[in-house]
């Protein structure tokens, strides 16, 4: 990429908006996923009783079942949230930048 094109893009305010919005968003979602996953692992390591309680009075299904499935579903939902915003807002910003500088 030519140096003048790089400077043109970097001096475009929309570029900074795109970069900072996307970075913040990705970091937040990554932290949420880390907390969910390691939260689950640490509960297993330190508080098995919590996960072993029956889900309702007299049930054989334990609290651990919906929580475990919830971790799987949360991974899917978090990627969905990211792709929804990235493929609309971030792509729109990217296209605007391209139109302005190219």
């Amino acid at each position: 990429m030519q140096q003048d094109l790089v400077h043109a893009i970097k001096s475009n305010p929309k570029y900074h908006e795109l970069v900072s919005k996307r970075r913040t968003f990705a970091v937040i979602l990554a932290i949420v996923m880390l907390v969910i996953y390691y939260g689950f692992i640490l509960i297993i390591a330190f508080n098995k009783e919590f996960l072993s309680q029956p889900l309702w009075e007299g049930s054989i299904t334990t609290v651990g079942i919906p929580i475990g499935l919830g971790v799987i579903i949360s991974a899917f939902v978090l990627t969905g949230i990211y792709v929804f915003r990235a493929n609309s807002e971030f792509d729109r910003l990217t296209n605007e930048i391209k139109e302005e500088v190219l």
Binding site: M1, I41, T62, G64, T79
Partner: protein, 561 residues
């Protein structure tokens, strides 16, 4: 070209005939009634995939076609193909077997295999698409010295590919032996020959479609078994509670089946295993390569979203399958339990056959045959993805960029890639035979530890940290590769259990926490201490790299046809 096509058709025909003969021979002695539907369906799959390979071969002309299917795969197709690349027979049979024996612990294990995907989405997917061309080494050598960086990345790729191949080939041989009554050597050879055909003739396009078909078959088959079992067990009420209740009545663990057990005991091991699974996925060359088959970052993101959905759904199914198997197979009078040499009652064919035996209990021989064929298809799809990634590391990274310094004719590069595929296919067969009697269960753990410690750190740091230099990347990358391998060899799994050398020198089974830390510290230290002229240029080049990474401007663009 004509000659190639004739040779291809002849090879394909003789292979199918050979497989039928070989299978028929052994099948007559063993359980023939079980084998025939399986063999028919397997042959149908082979015929279909060879047909696709023939079709793909005519569309594979340029290097971009060969490595990246011309960049014309859609996000949805790529999502399915990624799922097909990632869901191995080992995870299908292994995790449902784990649930069959341990109940809830199997779920904990499968969660770890899924959580890497969101990180690929947030950190890697679109960056790869915007910066790379055919292999992830394109990204890590973008602004660094080509020869040493490509050599490092190609070595990391090849180590991961070979380790993963050993596990897959041995698993394939054993599985096919049980399912089809085929000789181990025959089974491994057939797998090897088929993947050589797919990859050399059809390149990434054929590989992609083999993976897509396999993903559909596996998801469809697993859905039928899981919900079929739920329907049969609960007499039509579809209540998971009823399924769990019956399972706890039959299983020796009783209520403990529904609770976390012994799988997570040491928090250090758990954290370390979690890191290897999460970030190892983002360091698997055959997975990373899939992001170059889509036209742009938008489709790359969609692929991860669909892939995460399919893989997550698949793990939920394996959980249901494990519990269904407990209820329908574990009762001593079910006809599926046999007394082994030690006088203990166990599942016919071992715990890993839980999903396969459940198919027979739910849908008879037809479903059993279908699932057996699906399991074989699963192995073929994973192995062909691995072989293509290995061949690309040899031809695109080592041959074209390291040996020929980028001055190479495209057709010549593709020819080298096809030769490399042939060699890798033969190596895979030989490794499969050599490791037949070995316990290869630790191979998957080793693969992920190496991928997370050698490939992932240099990839992520080169994209996000402007101050990384060639020297830092080399130091960290090689240290990660060597330390993760050494820790596994010196650890309890290999040192004590496989080599039987007594107490392990390295005390943890899962080294990723330590080897990843070593890799990142190596990169950081090597980079900040590097004041060479090259280092200054590399830091200055980050700006242009970052702009391309963020916007996709200048990226290897849209489909070529």
């Amino acid at each position: 070209m004509r000659l190639w096509q004739n040779a291809f058709v002849a090879l394909a025909l003789s292979l199918v005939a050979g497989a039928a003969l070989a299978a028929g021979d052994v099948g007559e002695v063993k359980k023939q009634a079980v084998n025939i539907p399986a063999i028919v369906m397997f042959l149908a799959f082979v015929a279909a995939t060879l047909g696709i390979t023939y079709w793909a071969a005519q569309r594979t002309k340029t290097a971009k076609d060969f490595y990246a299917a011309g960049g014309g795969i859609t996000g949805f197709q790529n999502g399915l193909a990624i799922a097909g690349d990632y869901m191995s027979a080992a995870s299908f049979l292994g995790i449902s077997g784990l649930v069959f024996i341990n109940g809830y612990d199997g779920l904990i294990y499968s969660v770890g295999w899924l959580v890497g995907w969101p990180f690929i989405m947030f950190l890697i997917a679109e960056q790869l698409r915007n910066l790379g061309k055919y292999t992830y080494a394109d990204v890590v050598s973008y602004r660094f010295q080509r020869v040493p960086m490509r050599s490092l990345a190609a070595t990391g790729s090849l180590v991961v590919v070979v380790l993963y191949l050993i596990g897959q080939m041995v698993g394939a041989g054993k599985l096919i032996q049980v399912l089809f009554g085929l000789d181990y050597v025959y089974a491994v050879t057939i797998v090897g020959i088929l993947i050589i055909l797919y990859v050399t003739f059809g390149g990434m396009l054929a590989t992609t479609w083999v993976q897509i078909i396999k993903a559909c078959l596996l998801l469809g088959g697993a859905t039928i078994i899981a919900f079929g079992a739920l329907h049969v067990v609960t007499e039509g009420s579809w209540s998971p509670e009823a399924l769990f209740r019956k399972a706890t009545e039959i299983h020796a663990k009783k209520d403990a089946l529904m609770r976390p057990g012994a799988l997570v005991t040491s928090p250090i091991e758990a954290i370390s295993l979690g890191l290897a699974l999460m970030f190892g996925t983002a360091g698997l060359p055959h997975i990373l390569m899939r992001f170059f088959t889509v036209p742009n970052a938008t489709e790359a993101r969609k692929s991860v979203f669909y892939a995460t959905g399919f893989i997550g759904y698949f793990y939920i199914l394996t959980f249901l399958i494990g519990f269904g198997a407990i209820v329908l197979l574990m009762a001593p009078d079910s006809g599926y339990m046999v007394t082994n040499a030690k006088g203990v009652l166990e599942l016919k064919g071992g715990q890993n056959m839980a999903a396969v035996q459940l198919a027979s209990a739910v849908g008879g021989n037809l479903l059993l045959g279908f699932i057996s064929a699906v399991a074989f298809a699963t192995i073929l799809a994973v192995v062909s993805g691995l072989t293509l990634a290995g061949a690309s590391a040899i031809s695109h990274d080592l041959y074209a960029n390291v040996w020929a310094h980028g001055n190479v004719d495209e057709q010549q590069e593709v020819r080298v890639s096809k030769m490399a595929t042939l060699v890798l296919g033969v190596i895979a067969i030989l490794l499969g035979i050599a490791f037949e009697q070995q316990n290869v269960a630790y191979m998957v753990g080793l693969t992920f530890a190496v991928a997370a410690s050698a490939n992932f750190p240099i990839l992520i740091v080169s994209v996000f940290w402007s101050k990384m230099t060639t020297r830092g990347a080399l130091l960290g990358g090689w240290l990660g590769l060597v330390s993760s391998t050494l820790f596994v060899i010196l650890g309890p799994t290999v040192w004590t259990d496989v080599l039987k050398l007594g107490d392990a020198i390295f005390p943890f089974k899962n080294p990723a926490l330590f080897s990843m830390a070593i890799a990142f510290i190596g990169i950081w230290l090597g980079s900040i201490l590097d004041n060479s002229e090259n280092a200054k240029q590399e830091r200055a080049a980050f700006e242009a790299q970052d702009v391309r990474c963020q916007t996709g401007i200048g990226a290897e663009g849209a489909a070529s046809h």
